[in-house]
Symmetry: C2
C-alpha cells in the first residue's frame, strides 16, 4: 500500500509525454490546459525530457499579443524502442521512435516454442530491426528513419502467459507448457539492453492509452478478440489483465476448452464463431477448404460485407453474445471506453460494432450521464508490439530520477 | 487525470488511522512495519492526528533494551461520527466514536419516501442519537459513552440511488421516483454539520476497508446480497459501485425486473431464491404465511441448518449461481478478497459459503499463486451506516491540511 510522490511524478510524466506524442507541436500552456497540471509542473517535466533528448524545441507560436510561446515536439531522433509480440505461431518485432512511429519490423515463424529456440528467434528479430533500420539509406522513401548510432531506450516483450516480477514466465497452454522459464535472464544474456516482459492483454491496453482510443482517459477496457478472448483493464491508473473470456455467459452452455461450460470465449472466440457457422450451415462454402478457423473468419467477414444471409446471421448472433458480455463489464466498472482489439475484431469488428452497441445500450441501467463509448481499435499497426514498446518507454521514464 | 501529493498524503493518513483503529495500542514503529511508510511520514501523520485529538498517547512499551517506544491509540473521546442508512422501508441512524464503535442508534420507519418526509425522519434520527448518547448517564453499563460536548466530525448518509457531486440524488426505483432531489441542501438546512452523501454499495465497501475483511488490502470486492444485488469495487485505491446484479448469467434465462433476462439478480436476489423454492416445492411450508420474501428466506436458512432436503437443494443451487457469478468477477479483477454482505448473506451465507468457494475454485484458471479469499461480512453492526460514517471520517481527514 506504499504510495510515493515519485509515483505521481511518473504518472504526470506519462500524461505530459502522451499529450506531446499526440500532437505535431504543442506549447507548455496547451499541455497545462489538457492535463490539468500546473505550469510549474509541466515546465519541470518538459525540461527533464528536453535534457534527455526525448523532446525538442521546434519554434514559437503567437499567443495573441503576449510573449510568443515556445513549441515542443517529440525528438524523433531521441532514441529507439523495440516491441516484441510473441504469439503462438509467430514472433513480430517492431522498432519505434519515441513518437511511437514504426521504423522497421521483422516477422519470424519459429516453428516450435521451446524456450531456447524461441529466444534465438526473438534475439535474431531484434538484431534484424536494429541493423536494418540503421543500414537503410536516408533517402529510401517516406518511412521514418532511425538516426545512425541512435540509442536503444529499451525492449518490451509480450508473451502469452504469466510473467512474474523477476522475469520468469509460465505458459501452461498446449503447444507451450512453459513452467518457470527465466526468460528475462535468457534474453538478457544476449541482448544487453533494458528488458520489460509483460502479457498481450496488458500490452494492448497500454497501446490504447499511449496511442489509441484510451489516450487522455482514466478508465479504459480493451477486449482482445482472437482465438482466445481476454480483457485489459486500466482503471484509475492501474493496469490489470483479466480472464474475461472465461466469464460464464450461458449457464450450462457450450463446453469450453477450459473445462467449464458457457464461457464467453466459447461463443465469441474465433473457434466458437466458426462452430456457430458450422451448426447453422454445415455445408457452407465459408467454412474454407481445410476448415481452418482463420480462413473461415476471413470468408465470413467478406460474405457479411456482401450481404450473405448466413454470414449476416452468424455475425448478428455473435454480436448479441459479445454485446451481452460487454454489457456486464460496462455495468460493473463503467469505463469511459471499451476498445475491441485483436484479429477477430479487425476482421469482423465493422460488421459487429453497431449491434454490439445496441445490445449494450439495451442492457445498461438508466445512467444517461455515464455513457461508455464502444470502438474498434484505431491502431493501424500491431497493438501488442506497440504496447510492449510503450512498457519500455515507461521503464525509461521511470528511470529518469535515477539517471539524471 | 490530475494527481497530487495531497492525494497520497490523504491515502497514507487513511492507512495509518486504519491500523491504529485495528489495534488497542500501537507504536509508530509497528505502524511503519505494517504500512511500509517511512518513520518520518508515520511520525508526521500521527502528530497531526494527535494535535487534532483523534489519537492519544497511552503509555510506553519496552523495545528490548532500547529506548521505550510511545504507544498510540484512538482517542475515543476525540469526537463523534454519524452514519445513516436510508433503505426502502427504514432509516437506520448510528452514532460512532472515532474507533468506529457504535455509541447509540435510532431506527425509524418513515412509511413513505417523499423527500421532505424522509428528510424529517433523518434529521429526527440524527438528533435522537446525538441527544440520547450525551444524555445517557456515564455509569449506564459497558456501552461506550459519548463524552459530554463531544464535537460531531461529520454525518454520512447512504441513499439507494445515484448521488451527484453536488449532493443531488436520483432514485428511479418504484416507491421512490426521486429525480434530482437536492438532498444535501435539504439536510444542510436543518443539520449544520459536514454532510457526506453516497450509496450503500460504496458504503458497504468502505466499511470493509476500515473495519472489516478489507482492512490492509488493496483490491477488495464487496457483494451486497439482498432484494437487489450489487457490487462495490475497491481497486488500487479507487472505490466504485457496479451494477453487478444485472450481469447476464443465463443467456435468455429468467426475466429480471430490469427488463432483461437471465441477470445474476434474478437468481441470487432474495425474490429469485424464493421463486426457486416455489418452483421446486409450490406447497412448501417454508414459503411463509403471506409468502413474504424475508420470512421465506428466514425459514429457508433455518430449514437448511436443520438438514431439510428441499432447503438444502435451494441453497446448493443458489450457491452454484452465486459461485459462477463470483468466479466471473474473480477472474476479471483478481481481488484479494470477496466479501458477501447484505441481509441475504447474513441469513444464508453460512449455508452458501462452502459451495460458493468450491464453484469459484472450479472456474478459476490455473493461478495457484493468486487465490482470492471469499468470506462473509465480519462486521457485527450495520455495514451501510458504518460505511456512511467512514465517509464522514474520511472527509474530516481530507480537511486536515485546510483546518490546521
Amino acid at each position: 500500500m506504499k504510495r510515493t510522490t515519485r509515483d505521481i511524478r511518473l504518472a504526470n510524466r506519462f500524461d505530459v509525454l502522451r499529450h506531446i506524442i499526440a500532437s505535431r507541436a504543442v506549447s507548455r500552456q496547451e499541455i497545462v490546459a489538457e492535463t490539468g497540471l500546473s505550469l510549474a509542473t509541466v515546465s519541470t517535466l518538459v525540461g527533464e525530457l528536453l535534457d534527455l533528448g526525448l523532446l525538442e524545441e521546434v519554434g514559437y507560436e503567437d499567443s495573441g499579443g503576449g510573449r510568443p510561446r515556445g513549441l515542443i515536439a517529440v525528438a524523433t531522433g531521441g532514441g529507439v524502442l523495440v516491441g516484441v509480440d510473441v504469439a503462438e505461431t509467430h514472433v513480430h518485432v517492431e522498432l519505434f521512435n519515441p513518437k511511437l512511429d514504426v521504423l522497421a519490423e521483422a516477422r519470424l515463424q519459429p516453428g516450435e516454442n521451446r524456450p531456447e529456440h524461441l529466444v534465438r528467434h526473438i534475439v535474431s528479430g531484434v538484431r534484424t530491426v536494429l541493423g536494418e533500420a540503421s543500414a537503410r539509406p536516408a533517402d529510401s522513401g517516406s518511412a521514418p528513419q532511425m538516426p545512425p548510432g541512435a540509442r536503444v531506450l529499451g525492449i518490451g516483450v509480450s508473451v502469452p502467459g504469466r510473467v512474474e516480477r523477476d522475469g520468469v514466465v509460465s505458459i501452461p497452454a498446449p503447444g507451450w507448457d512453459w513452467r518457470g522459464v527465466p526468460l528475462r535472464r535468457l534474453l538478457g544474456e544476449q541482448l544487453h539492453l533494458p528488458l520489460y516482459l509483460d502479457n498481450p492483454l496488458r500490452a494492448s491496453t497500454a497501446a490504447e492509452l499511449w496511442s489509441g482510443a484510451g489516450r487522455g482517459r482514466e478508465d479504459v477496457v480493451v477486449l482482445t478478440l482472437g482465438t482466445g478472448v481476454g480483457a485489459g483493464l486500466a482503471l484509475g491508473g492501474s493496469l490489470r489483465a483479466g480472464e474475461w473470456g472465461h466469464t460464464t455467459l450461458v449457464l450450462d452452455g457450450r463446453p469450453c476448452h477450459c473445462g467449464c461450460r458457457g464461457c464467453v470465449e466459447a461463443y465469441v472466440g474465433a473457434p466458437g464463431i466458426v462452430q456457430h457457422l458450422r451448426e447453422l450451415a454445415p455445408d457452407s462454402a465459408l467454412l474454407g477448404a481445410g476448415g481452418q478457423t482463420r480462413t473461415s473468419i476471413d470468408a465470413l467477414a467478406r460474405a457479411a460485407a456482401d450481404g450473405d444471409p448466413v454470414a449476416a446471421k452468424v455475425v448478428a448472433e455473435t454480436a448479441r453474445y459479445l454485446g451481452v458480455a460487454v454489457a456486464g463489464l460496462v455495468n460493473l466498472v463503467h469505463p469511459q471506453v471499451v476498445v475491441l482489439s485483436g484479429w477477430v475484431a479487425a476482421k469482423l469488428g465493422p460488421a459487429l460494432l453497431g449491434e454490439v452497441r445496441t445490445v449494450v445500450e439495451r442492457h445498461a441501467p438508466r445512467r444517461p450521464s455515464a455513457r461508455t463509448g464502444i470502438v474498434l481499435c484505431p491502431i493501424a499497426s500491431n497493438p501488442v508490439s506497440l504496447g510492449a514498446a510503450t512498457f519500455a518507454l515507461e521503464g525509461f521514464l521511470a528511470g529518469i530520477g535515477h539517471r539524471l
